[in-house]
């Protein structure tokens, strides 16, 4: 078992490989890949390909395969969500950061799968879990959004991605002036999907949808979710419970 952490894209990254004879250089290579993703997609780096595309310094035919791939994934997501997901902003510039993190974790996992069967990659609370940990499924805790030192649920996962989205302004309540009810009743949403890319992009969406996002999740194949409400109760999709058993 080898565990390594790094700070990439301004986020903590952890890779754990639960096997013997793990080469440290393989994890370093994975970190290098993540740095590369940041260099290509960061909108905060003036010389990133993404920044150059937005400044129209790169013509469409010269866009790299990698960026084209992410653009295609974004287009696919836009279609899947009937146009709600759109990386093109009103000013015509593109911001793919809504899917790049999950994409990066998943691509990193694909890379490590060439040599290892049992590992996980975590970037700032979003995780892809591959294989097993000592013949048992990986144990993933869901953080209590009201007390981040606590875990409120344990999931047993193998070959899955999990991502959590939540509120950063704590204690904030928005009232819907029409119904006079609290409009933001969600504290966090955790989504389990086929990989980190699927989990991440939907976790972000569901959080924006609010409590009724659970209905959207319920209709999606291969996606399950757990929503923690501000009243400290939680609601889950029908298929979620299976992940809470060993």
């Amino acid at each position: 078992m080898l565990k390594k952490t790094a700070e990439i894209m301004g986020m903590p990254v952890t890779i754990v490989i639960a096997e013997e004879n793990v080469k440290e250089e393989d994890i370093i290579k994975a970190f290098t890949y993540l740095h590369h993703i940041d260099d290509v997609f960061s909108l905060y780096k003036k010389n990133s390909e993404m920044s150059k595309i937005n400044r129209k310094e790169i013509h469409e035919e010269d866009i790299s395969k990698e960026v084209k791939k992410v653009f295609n994934l974004a287009e696919k997501t836009k279609h899947q969500t009937n146009g709600y997901f759109d990386i093109t902003q009103q000013n015509g510039k593109k911001d793919p950061s809504g899917i790049v993190k999950g994409y990066a974790i998943h691509q990193c996992a694909v890379l490590l799968k060439r040599k290892y069967k049992n590992f996980f990659i975590e970037i700032a609370g979003d995780i892809e879990l591959v294989g097993l940990n000592n013949s048992a499924k990986w144990k993933v805790g869901i953080e209590n959004p009201f007390n981040r030192k606590e875990i409120i649920k344990v999931l047993f996962l193998s070959n899955k991605g999990v991502a959590t989205s939540g509120t950063y302004i704590r204690g904030l309540h928005i009232y819907n002036p029409v119904t006079q009810k609290k409009a933001d009743t969600i504290a966090s949403v955790t989504v389990v999907g086929e990989n980190a890319y699927e989990a991440d992009r939907f976790a972000t969406a569901i959080f924006a949808m609010g409590e009724n996002g659970i209905n959207f999740l319920e209709k999606q194949k291969n996606l399950e979710g757990y929503i923690v409400k501000k009243n400290k109760s939680a609601i889950m999709t029908k298929g979620f419970e299976k992940y809470t058993h060993v």
Binding site: M9, G10, M11, P12, S42, T81, Y84, F85, I87, Q89, D95, S97, G98, F120, A124, G125, I127, L129, K139, V140, G141, I142, E143, N144, P145, N147, E150, I151, I152, V154, S165, G166, T167, Y168, I169, L172, H173, I174, Y175, P177, S188, T190, T204, A205, F207, A208, M209, G210, N212, I214, N215, F216, E218, V228, K232, S233, A234, I235, K238, E241
Partner: protein, 148 residues
């Protein structure tokens, strides 16, 4: 028209909330500027001391980028007074989208609900919203970057 009243109302609530938070100062989780050394979209938040005599930001009103909140766009405006973040105005919010609203009004299916409870078990890794409300942070970070 109703829509505008609604948005104005929401913005008002946000503004009042943020101002209250600022004045309280000692609150456990105040709304504080995004880490100033790193305006990366995903940077974690840092809490700045409310007693700090140093003014981090220049006074003025700064508009952040339109960030993709997946279910619509989100854009904030940061108001800096006395070198401190005094207000956040939401120029765009995902609910400000007729299609989002219609989805949000879908009838709820009957799903299992439970009270959350702390667990004592050991886990390999934790999933949490460490960079949550990304769109909010992104837009705010870009607004504050201009205020330096």
């Amino acid at each position: 028209m109703k829509k505008y009243i609604q948005i104005t109302f929401v913005l008002g609530i946000f503004a009042v909330f943020v101002l209250l938070r600022q004045f309280k100062g000692s609150d456990e989780n105040p709304v504080t500027p995004i880490s100033q050394q790193n305006s990366n979209s995903t940077s974690r938040t840092t809490q700045t001391s409310s007693n700090s005599s140093q003014n981090i930001y220049k006074d003025g009103t700064y508009t952040g980028i339109v960030a993709d909140a997946f279910y619509g766009n989100l854009q904030v405006q940061a108001v800096i007074q006395g070198g401190r973040l005094s207000d956040i105005v939401f120029l765009e919010y995902p609910n400000d989208n007729p299609t989002s609203r219609s989805i949000n009004q879908q009838a709820s299916v009957l799903l299992k609900e439970e009270a959350i409870r702390a667990q004592n078990s050991q886990v390999d890794i934790v999933t949490g919203a460490s960079d949550s409300s990304r769109a909010f942070q992104q837009s705010l970070a870009s607004a504050l970057a201009q205020a330096k």
